[in-house]
Amino acid sequence: MEKAGIVGVGQTKYERKKDDTFAELVFEACTGALTDAGVGIEDIDNVITVSNDFWDGRTISSMAIQDAAGSYNKDVSTVEGDGVFGAMYGMMRTLSGSFDTTLVVAHVKGSEGNMNLITNAMFDPIYQRKLGIDATSSAALQARSYMEKTGATEEDFARVSVKNQGNGVNNPYAQIREKISVDDVMKSRKISEPLKLFDCSPITDGAAAIVISNEKGMKRFKKDPVWILGAAHFSDSYTLGYRDLTNSRALEAAAKKAYDMAGITNPLMELDVIELADAYSYMELLWYEGLGLTPKGKGADLIRSGATAMDGELPVNPSGGLLCAHPVLVAGLARIIEATLQIRGEAGDRQVKGANKALAHGINGPCGQAHGVFVLGS
């Protein structure tokens, strides 16, 4: 089968309030990715931009940053969803043979809008939006369901925040770089019970970009690519209440397909590092199960065992994950970038020694309605 690989990555530092405009962020990420790839914009055959109109506060937010994405005189397409889906689309465009190289760029400035109102608007206007439900209060419902079903405790959720914030200290791109304790999490302000302030990812600004190439395009690049060994994207039902929030079947399906493509049968043994979408602490435990790292209902056991800590058998979120920086939409692309840096051995203080096979994960929709999974390797 024809292969595609990642040949360049670029990301801005993630911060709560960046002075840069959308276009400046996009330009910084794109030039970063091109410099990393050792090529110019003329070596890019097509461009995918990832953005959301409501977050940007303008219609066709994608069109407003095309100049900064270097897409003049190139074929462009746009994604409104997590960056992991932008990467998927970019990969498909190179594998189709229509283009050899794709530049994928995502941007967001969470600090300029209002997260609660914007995510309230993702719910159905007729049946649910008027109730005021949003990303955080719906996540809290999922967290409670998970506790009821599995016996996981608020302390287990806190362990995720403690681990990931501890890791974030080593990531110069992270927004939050401060070690905390389980006690700190438990005593932090109640937001939407059982979720407290340190269970919730922060509001973040930033941009990220990657360059993807098929085998034919590889001759343009000097560096060895990080190959995409498997990739899949699945969705569950939209309406909160219709699906079982404690059973991430969309993630299971996406992981299974990506593992099959990559020839992985035991992910806990065969993967060296995972970067996943921990928008809220409890999600990491639920995604452990969806990714097949642990039997259903046993996510809490895995965090308690220390297996996913930096010195464990399968470190999860060495970057600190979304709990340390949550640029919405950009997050999935940032996970792919982190996984790429790990395989290259360029992850600095957050490097997992000898990482050779990595998984990157992104989510979209309320309570992880859709999941995208990439398996990357050298």
């Binding site: 002075d19 007729i126 005021g132 439900i133 419902l141 967290a143 369901s145 937001i191």
Partner: protein, 149 residues
């Protein structure tokens, strides 16, 4: 940067009207005119949806059979939310519940009210309280309250 960074404030305000459709309209008319909860059943998997949907998510077939449901149910999950952006017609703390209506599958998202947050639990029995003035919307149910039924 040496330049003063000017911030521009704006607001997007666009009126919309959304047609509820035949299936949803029937549901809202039931709430508005008769204080009744109606769901619909998938002919293939037998799931009963509330709010009703036109096509079964699982089976990709039209749901045709209407089922009158009770106005009672069980709390499947809940959260006590300590903030508000003013969308919900409630004061904080707001209690949201996923309520498994008797006779339906899945659960309905709504408020839990007339109860201390600390007294709400998963598995608790609740009953719908209807709004006095009903206009054909999800807010025709005021909230669900603890019940012995």
């Amino acid at each position: 940067m040496d330049v003063e960074n000017i911030i521009y404030h704006g607001r997007i305000k666009v009126p919309y009207k959304w047609y509820v459709g035949e299936t949803g309209s029937r549901f809202f008319i039931g709430l508005r005119d008769n204080k009744e909860l109606w769901g619909n059943r998938c002919p293939k998997c037998d799931r009963v949806y509330v709010p009703p949907i036109k096509t079964c998510w699982e089976c990709f077939v039209p749901t045709k059979e209407w089922v009158k449901l009770k106005d009672t149910g069980t709390v499947e999950s809940f959260t006590v939310t300590h903030y508000s952006e003013g969308v919900a017609p409630k004061d904080v703390p707001i209690i949201y519940g996923l309520i498994k209506i008797d006779g339906a599958d899945g659960s309905l998202l709504h408020f839990i009210g007339d109860v201390e947050p600390g007294d709400v639990s998963v598995g608790m029995r609740v009953k719908a309280v209807f709004a006095e003035e009903r206009t054909g919307s999800i807010l025709d149910i005021k909230h669900f309250v603890p019940s012995n039924e």
